[in-house]
């Protein structure tokens, strides 16, 4: 599918790159938004909303920038609400609907432990806008990672049931880990120019952090996935994605041209 038909950002590379990272943040924010009023305690409704808001803020800046560099007059809302599924470039990890709080913690741990070194690297990007967005976001994501870490420790070492559920959550998100560090030509070229971060280089820090948490919380690292996810950056998603987008986009799609 030519990406134009699906609404994907296709040019220039920096716009594609910004839209991918923006999509990661947007889709996870959407999932976290669905948690509010369903959290195990009020403090956690507040915390998940906070993290969702941070991610949504990152998504807005990144998608706005993608639209600006694309130069076709699309802003954050056109990109969020008027692209088709095949036009989204997020990793599949962020699409999943959490079976329970244990899975939500596992997903956030895995994602924030990836996003933190990514944004830290990006904060020295030769692209001043990306650098500024990332510099602001690093502080937010450090909090996300810490929050997920604290919960992983509590759940992993809490009760037998919480240990079991936290482990099941990890098992469930683990097949989506490899895709985070996959990289592709576009990213490599941008990284060579000092614009992007080479995501394959982030795995060491990720493994060190997540590995330490697993040990401290007596959780077992799931076996390397037989079927690692792949394709999100090329617009190949899980079947959960279509339902997420239907919900997210329906109102805007129902009122062509309206302002909200």
């Amino acid at each position: 599918m030519s990406s134009h038909a699906s609404g994907a950002v296709v040019d220039p590379p920096v716009a594609v790159y910004a839209s991918r990272l923006g999509d990661d943040a947007l889709i996870l924010a959407q999932r976290l938004g669905g948690w509010i009023t369903r959290a195990p305690q009020l403090e956690e409704d507040v915390a998940l909303a906070n993290i969702g808001l941070d991610l949504l803020g990152q998504a807005r800046m990144l998608l706005s920038y993608a639209g600006e560099r694309e130069g076709l007059g699309r802003g954050e809302d056109e990109l969020a609400h008027l692209r088709d599924e095949r036009g989204f470039g997020n990793v599949q990890l962020v699409e999943g609907q959490d079976a329970d709080f244990g899975e939500a913690v596992a997903r956030l741990l895995v994602f924030s432990a990836y996003q933190l070194p990514l944004y830290r690297g990006l904060s020295t990007s030769s692209d001043a806008t990306l650098a500024a967005i990332a510099a602001k976001a690093v502080k937010e994501v450090a909090y996300h990672r810490d929050h997920a870490t604290q919960w992983a420790l509590r759940l992993g070492a809490g009760t037998d049931e919480s240990h079991r559920r936290m482990q099941a959550g990890l098992d469930s998100v683990w097949p989506f880990v490899d895709e985070l560090f996959e990289g592709d030509d576009l990213e490599r070229r941008l990284a060579a120019d000092g614009v992007a971060v080479d995501s394959t280089a982030l795995r060491a820090e990720w493994s060190a952090h997540v590995g330490e948490i697993l040990v401290r919380s007596t959780l077992t690292e799931p076996a390397p996935g037989a079927a690692p996810a792949t394709g999100g950056r090329r617009g190949v998603h899980t079947e959960a994605m279509g339902y997420l987008l239907a919900e997210m986009q329906h109102l805007v799609r129902s009122h062509p041209g309206a302002t909200w």
Binding site: L26, Q30, G33, G34, I36, T37, R38, A39, P40, Q41, L42, E43, E44, D45, V46, A49, N50, G52, L53, L56, G57, A59, R60, L63, E76, D77, A80, H81, D100, F101, L153, R154, L155, A157, G158, T159, E161, S162, R165, E247, M248, H250, L251, V252, H255, G257, A258, T259, W260
Partner: protein, 309 residues
């Protein structure tokens, strides 16, 4: 300071009662009941708005809505904390909410059917809440009064956001205008009913007034809300669904049609369109979160053991 004498003296001097002060049992019980109900309303009130977070039609509005619902959770936390100064626990109060022995505001038992409902809730429901709550910033119980100061500041922000949302719709497409009018049509009378039964049928009013908890009657507050809201409706360009509504120059107030108080009592007693759904949602979140709370307690206990040994 000692006992009831100083309690009466403090009241008379319009000073604040603090947790360590002695106070009549009825005062304490009434305050706990009111603060709990207020806290529960914040928590249940998250649901009708959260219903639109994943469907908000712009990322800016999504962020505003998410932050608003988050604020409501925060208000719940302040209020439970304020109630805890009187020797009750949040866990017990939540149990009473879940058991149905403590109430929450009837307004949250109506469904949010369209995006415009999010605006109408902000404008009308938060507007009514503020009208009710501003006087509470000066109520006699210190922790409650201080919580209300913070809450009212945020609520008035929310009310402006709701107004702004509606204004965008009423200046939008014909379908958006219809959507706003429809939302106002459905939320107007339930908002009026938020002030409670008319003074003649109100139960706790007099004693609360003497204790400096309630400074205006239900009807006074309702009138104040109508007078504040009518000119805002004109700016929005929506019609308030009350053909009797008009300015009465003799009273210096608007005349208006009272809400259906029988409906109010029905909804309070469980017969609103969403009572069952709201309570089931709340109980499910609580029950499904039990294992998480237990794990956190077990972990904290183990940590403090380790710290001691």
């Amino acid at each position: 300071r000692d006992g009831e004498h100083s309690f009466d003296a403090l009241l008379a001097a319009d000073e604040r009662i603090e947790p360590r002060d002695q106070m009549p049992d009825g005062y304490r019980r009434g305050l706990v009941r009111q603060m709990a109900q207020h806290a529960h309303s914040e928590i249940i009130g998250m649901q009708p708005e959260a219903n639109w977070i994943t469907r908000a039609p712009s990322l800016r509005r999504k962020a505003i809505l998410m932050a608003k619902v988050q604020d409501e959770a925060g208000h719940g936390l302040y209020l439970y904390a304020a109630a805890e100064t009187l020797g009750v626990s949040r866990a017990d109060l939540l149990d009473q909410l879940h058991a149905g022995t403590q109430k929450y505001s009837s307004i949250f038992n109506y469904p949010t059917l369209t995006w415009a409902d999010v605006g109408a809730i902000g404008w009308l429901v938060d507007g009514a809440a503020i009208t009710n709550q501003v006087p509470l910033c000066r109520c006699s119980y210190g922790p409650y009064a201080r919580a209300m100061v913070r809450i009212c500041k945020e609520e008035s922000f929310h009310q402006r956001q709701g107004f702004d949302l509606l204004l965008t719709l009423t200046r939008g497409t014909p379908r958006q205008r219809e959507m706003s009018q429809d939302a106002v049509d459905r939320w107007w009378y339930p908002s009026l009913a938020m002030f409670g039964p008319p003074d003649g049928r109100s139960t706790h009013g007099e004693q609360s007034a003497r204790w400096g908890i309630k400074r205006f009657s239900n009807d006074e507050l309702r009138q104040r809300f109508v007078d504040m809201t009518v000119p805002q409706a004109a700016v929005l360009g929506v019609t308030i669904p009350d053909p009797q509504l008009r300015w009465n120059p003799e009273r210096g107030h608007h005349d208006f049609t009272e809400p259906d108080y029988d409906e109010l009592f029905r909804v309070i007693s469980g017969a609103g369109p969403c009572n069952r759904q709201r309570m089931e949602h709340r109980r499910r979140a609580h029950d499904e979160g039990a294992w998480v709370r237990e794990a956190a307690l077990a972990y904290a206990a183990r940590q403090s053991e380790t710290a001691v040994s």
